[in-house]
């Protein structure tokens, strides 16, 4: 058994971290929220880096590779989401022209899930959707909505004239959804791990009543509970990504579990980080609320946490009976 990242993955993580932390940051997320500054790194830089298209046919990358990158993207609240690229790769599998268009930056896509605001709709010109069981593609009118987390680029999409790309695409759509949930969970993992680091660092340094607040059980145990959740989320993300690459039969359960765990873990990590930071933690200038905003949005993306828990239960009971 070797359920751990290999050297290759660790090198990839380091490279992604270097690129992403130079091009995105909580400060950029704040600027996007505050004055409508562009989301960073943005589509252009992201595809240029090659990280977004790592699961493209010729890139030789796996979903696990993309998950490793996505964790780093989550740490710095990068946008647009790698979820969008992960889903596009599955949906457009075989459509070399469009995949090349995304990779060279000429095609800006978003994936339309339901009637609600769409992830990465801001700046997208081409939309992929499931209509009557067919994968369709077309332009759309985007109304960007007032953001909770501006890096998610959510907007309402009114689809224009669409073309059918794949007539019988339900299975493909479901796989894209599950790979997307896996990558969403990986971004959540990065954000949660970053919040934990922030909390631990502050608790180790901030003094109250003559000692570091992290020495008090109330603070220490709060952080430990987050640590346990973050590590278990990490395990679920790896499992889901591995299943996407190697065990399609395990993907439905693994992806739903990862999605659900990411939603609750990130929310818990964000609320704990704010609490540990005391007064400073709920100021605009502190980074904590930017991650908290991410948590409040992400839990509702690609189906909400309630739907994911429900799916886990149905799959578990189905497998058991």
């Amino acid at each position: 058994m070797n359920f751990d990242l290999d050297t290759e993955h660790l090198d990839l993580a380091a490279a992604a971290r270097e690129f992403l932390s130079a091009s995105a940051s909580p400060a950029a997320a704040r600027a996007a929220l505050d004055g409508g500054a562009a989301v960073r790194p943005g589509r252009e830089e992201l595809v240029k880096s090659g990280f977004a298209t790592i699961t493209w046919p010729d890139s030789g990358g796996s979903v696990l590779h993309l998950a490793v990158v996505a964790e780093q993207a989550g740490r710095v609240l990068a946008g647009p989401s790698l979820v969008t690229y992960a889903r596009a790769a599955v949906l457009l599998d075989g459509d070399e022209e469009r995949l090349a268009g995304i990779a060279d930056g000429s095609l800006a896509v978003a994936v339309v899930d339901d009637d609600g605001p769409v992830l990465d709709a801001a700046g997208a010109t081409t939309f992929l959707a499931l209509r009557d069981g067919a994968l369709v593609c077309g332009p759309g009118e985007v109304t960007v909505r007032a953001p909770i987390d501006a890096t998610r680029g959510l907007g309402d999409v009114a689809l224009g004239e669409t073309t059918v790309l794949v007539p019988d695409a339900a299975a493909r759509w479901r796989r894209a959804d599950r790979v997307g949930r896996t990558i969403l969970a990986a971004e959540g993992l990065g954000a949660a791990a970053c919040l934990l680091d922030m909390g631990v660092a502050y608790a180790g340094q901030r003094q109250a009543f003559g000692r570091a607040i992290g020495s008090y059980q109330a603070v220490k145990h709060m952080l430990v509970d987050v640590y346990v959740e973050v590590e278990q989320l990490r395990s679920l993300v790896w499992w889901a990504a591995w299943a996407a690459d190697h065990a399609p039969g395990e993907l439905p359960l693994a992806a739903a579990a990862a999605k659900a765990a990411a939603a609750t873990t990130l929310e818990h990590a964000a609320e704990t980080a704010i609490q540990v930071h005391g007064g400073a933690g709920f100021t605009w200038e502190h980074d904590a609320h930017l991650y908290w905003r991410r948590a409040k949005v992400d839990r509702f993306l690609l189906g909400d946490d309630t739907a994911a828990f429900d799916e886990v239960a149905r799959l578990a009971m189905g497998a058991a009976s």
Binding site: D114, D115, G116, P117, R145, A146, P147, I148, R152, L154, Q207, A208, F209, G210, R211, Y216, A218, V219, E271, I274, Q275, G278, G279, A280, G281, F282, T283, W284, E285, H286, A288, H289, W292, K296, V297, F300, L301, D304, T306, D310
Partner: protein, 386 residues
């Protein structure tokens, strides 16, 4: 047992209600609104007459508060002054200070703020660093920074807790002052919270002069003076923290309006979440009535009054979370009042005593559990900051 007013209370309530029902406060003139209420006898009800108050009971004051809330009238602008600063001046001020400040405070001629917390002194308030240095002439010079100061941008005066002697253990080297917020060297900077609003301020003191006549209590006695302030805060809060977060009835109304759009499964889940939050909110509300009953008997609220805040932050969080969830697809974007309410709540668990500090207080002072050994005991402030 009954939930009724005593005959005296009922008579008072009738009088209050009659006045309030015909009042039409101008939203652009909060000082005028408080002044009108003061002239009518409904501000500082429980303050002594010689302090400009009415010499009434805490229950009478509570009835005024209840009736104002019932009619949805705007809160008093000088809330901090009335609840915290004024009582401190009453207890520790000189005759001169009392005559200059108290009535004007009640009438909102002057607005007040409370300058205690600092970036490096939150839960551990006595670790504050703002220095007051005595001048040869007897006056004082203040340098330092305060934070989380409500109303500082409007306030005329503040009560200011400073360190005058770093060579003794931290609780013993503090001194309290009244500071004129328009004095040279005082800078107020609004502080944005995570929801984008600026309810609080940072206040910087750069070599600000305060005459010795503005001292409140003896030099070095500031901690005892500050405890009066904090005790008064508890008194003025009343109701056991039931004011935290949205009213459960408002959440129920909102959920009821959105329930039909949810699947049957989601409706069942929403009812569970609403039921749990609602029961917690009712529990806090009726526990608040028990505290009010004690006040009605003339007793003072004890440390157990903080219990409502502990459960209140929790149930407010759960109810607000539900209110956001029932928005469905719109829950992903901002623009709804519940989204904003959600972004206020994390601060609630910290402001006015963090959940952790309140649990210590209740554990030790109500349940009688032993305190933790104090690492900073007997150490001078100067030593404690290394």
């Amino acid at each position: 047992m009954d939930f009724d007013d005593t005959p005296d209370e009922a008579a008072w309530r009738t009088r209050v209600r009659a006045f309030l029902e015909q009042s039409r406060p101008d939203p652009d003139d909060p000082r005028g609104w408080q002044a009108a209420l003061y002239e009518a006898g409904f501000v500082g009800v429980a303050w002594p007459v010689e302090a400009g108050g009415r010499g009434g009971t805490l229950m009478q004051q509570a009835i005024v508060d209840q009736e104002m809330a019932r009619l949805g009238l705007p809160a008093l602008i000088n809330l901090i002054g009335i609840g915290m600063c004024g009582p401190t001046v009453i207890m520790h001020g000189s005759a001169d200070q009392k005559s200059r400040y108290l009535q004007r405070l009640l009438r909102a001629d002057d607005l007040w703020c409370q300058l205690f917390s600092e970036p490096e002194a939150g839960s551990d308030l006595a670790a504050l660093r703002t220095r007051a240095v005595r001048e040869p002439g007897g006056g004082w010079r203040i340098t330092g920074q305060k934070v989380w100061t409500t109303l500082a941008h409007l306030a005329d005066y503040g009560i200011l807790l400073t360190r005058t002697d770093p060579g003794v253990p931290k609780h013993r080297g503090l001194t309290m002052f009244v500071v004129d917020m328009s004095a040279p060297g005082v800078t107020v900077r609004p502080l944005r919270q995570m929801n984008g609003d600026a309810h609080f301020n940072e206040v910087f003191f750069d070599d600000v002069a305060i005459p010795d006549s503005e001292r409140l209590g003896e030099p070095g006695d500031g901690w005892r003076v500050a405890l009066t302030t904090l005790m008064s805060e508890r008194l003025s809060l009343g109701g056991g923290g039931t004011g935290i977060g949205p009213k459960p009835e408002a959440v129920a109304r909102h959920v009821a309006a959105h329930l039909g759009a949810l699947s049957a499964d989601r409706q069942a889940l929403a009812r569970q979440q609403l039921g749990r939050g609602y029961v917690a909110a009712l529990g806090a509300r009726y526990t608040g009535y028990r505290q009010l009953s004690r006040i009605s008997r003339g007793e003072l609220p004890g440390p157990e009054a903080s219990a409502g805040k502990l459960s209140g932050t929790r149930s407010a969080r759960d109810l607000t979370d539900l209110a956001v969830r029932v928005l469905g697809e719109d829950a992903r974007v901002a623009g709804d009042i519940w989204q904003n309410a959600q972004a206020v709540l994390p601060g609630m668990a910290i402001a006015g005593g963090s959940d952790q500090v309140l649990r210590n207080i209740i554990g030790e002072r109500v349940l009688g559990l032993p305190a933790e050994p104090r690492a900073d005991k007997g150490v001078t402030f100067r030593e404690s900051i290394g």
